[in-house]
Amino acid sequence: MIQLNNVSYCYNENDYALDSVSLEIKKGEFIGIAGRNGSGKSTLIRLINGLLLPLQGNVNVMGMDTMDNDSIIGIRKIAGMVFQDPQSQFIGMTVGEDVAFGPENLGLSHEDICGRVDTSLKAVGMYIYKDHTPRALSGGQKQKVALASILAMEPELILFDEATSMLDPVASEEVLKLIKQLHNKGVTIVYVTHRLEELIFADRLIIMDKGRIIHDDNPRKLLNEENILDSGIYLPPIIELSRRLCSEQVIEPIRLPISREELMEALCQLM
C-alpha cells in the first residue's frame, strides 16, 4: 500500500530531518510510530501524503508516486491525515461546514454529505457543536472535529500525527476504539504518539531517532528488549512493572504482559 525507498528530506541544507528511510506498509496494517521530539515522525507522515516531496528516493502510495503531479489528488482521496495542531486544518465557518468540506470535494450527493457529517460528528461526540465556529472550541474539541472531518471522507488510509494529544484519557480511549473499528474494517492506520499504551495492539511498532527508523517490530517483542529505552521512549508504568516482575522471576518471562488486564491475569495465577 505504501512504499518508501531510501527517502531523505531536509528543511535546511544538510540537516536531514529524514535520512534514507525505507519502509513498506501493507494494506490493512496498523502501524504505530513513536520517538523523540524532532526525530522525524511528522516529516515521515507529510512525505506519505505528499505534503512534502522527497529530496532523495521515492514515495509510493497505492501505485502512485508522490512526485507525480497527477497522483497527489488521487492520494488525497484515499489518504486522510489528522494533524498535530488542528488549528491549521479548519476552513469552514461552522463545525458542520468544516466537516462537510472533505465529502463535498469527493463529489457526493447532498444527502450523502449531510449523513456523513452528522454520523462522524456524533461518533466523536461533537454533534451539539455543529453550528459553532471551530475557532471558538476548546483545544480537545478542535482535535475531535479534525478527526470527524477525516472520518467523513471514509478514507482507505488514515495518518494520525499526535491526533489525541489534547484529549482526556476517556476521550482518547473512545477515539482509539473508533480507530480500531476502522482498522477492523480494513482501513490502513499510521498512528504517531508518545503514549506507547496506545500502541500495544499495533501490528508493528516503529521507533524513530535522528531521522531514521531504529526499530520496527511487533510491540510485545520490542517492549521487552533490553536497550529499548536508549531510543528516548519511555515504558508505560504497567509494562515497566511487568518487565521488572519478569526479571526478578516473580512471573515467568515467557510472554511479557503488556496491558493491565494481562498483568492482572499473570499475577492472579500466582495467588
Binding site: S138, G140, S172, P237, M271
Partner: protein, 279 residues
Amino acid sequence: MSINVKDLSFCYNRGTSLQRDALVNVSFSIDKGEFVLIGGEVGCGKTTLLRHMNGLLRPHSGSVTVDGLDAGNKKIRSKVGLLLQHPQKQLFAKTVYEDIAFAPSNIGFKDNELKDHVRYAMDLTGIDGSISSVSPFSLSGGEMRLVALAGVMAMKPEYLLLDEPTSGLDPENRSMMLKTLKELQASGVTIIIVSHQISEMISFAEKIMMLNSGSIDFIGTPKEYIFSTSSSLQLPDITSLMKDLKTAGMDVSEDVFSVDDALLQIKKALLNVDGKRNE
C-alpha cells in the same frame, strides 16, 4: 496569601443561540506555594477557569481574588503568569533573549534590571545562555516550551498557571518540564497545572481538582483522590492494578503510584501467600 474563587460563573456567547455555560458556581481556594493539578474532560472549562485567575476573562457572576486583589486589577498580570495551551503562539521575537525580555521591558524595566529579570528566568528554566541569540522557532518542541515558560517567568510571577504544559512533549522533555516546575515551586512559586495526564503528575501534587461540565466534581489531596469512590475519576494505571489485585484478594494497599512501590508490595504479598502455603 492565596487565590480565592467564589461562586464563579461564566458563559461564552451570552444572549445568543450559541450560549453555553462554561463555568457554573465554582468556589475553591489555593494557598500560596501549593502545587495544584486541575483535570477534567475535554471542554469542561479548565482553560476558561485559568483565564479568570489572571484576569483575562471577567466573571459574569461571583468573584476571583488574588492576595485580596480583584483579578481584574492591572497588578494581577505581573503577579500571575499564564503559559498557554499552545505555547508556540506565545513566541514571536527574533531571538530567545528578546522573547524572554519582552514582558519585563514592556512594563519599563531597562538595562541591569531587565538583564536581571531575564537571567532569573533563564536560570530557573535551565535555558543555556548559548541559545539566547538564536531564533526561538529553530528550537525543538521541548526547548520552545521552556523558552515560552521563561518568558512568563521573566515577570517574576508569584503564581504560575500552566495549560497542558507537557502535551506534545516526548518523555525526556516531559520529565525536564516537571523537574523545572518542581524547582519553581521550591523557590516559592505557586504552581497550578491543567493537564489530562493526572497520573503522570499525581506524585508532585498537593491538591487535585476535577471539573465536570463547568462545575467542581472533586477537590482534595492525591490520597483522597485515589480513595474517592467517584467512578468518573481516572486513576493511574498502577493504582488501578493495585486496586484490582486487592479486590482479587492480594494483600496490597491501593495508594501506590510508582512502579517501585508496586513491585515491593506485590513481592511482599506473594511471599506472604507462599509463607502461608508452607505452614
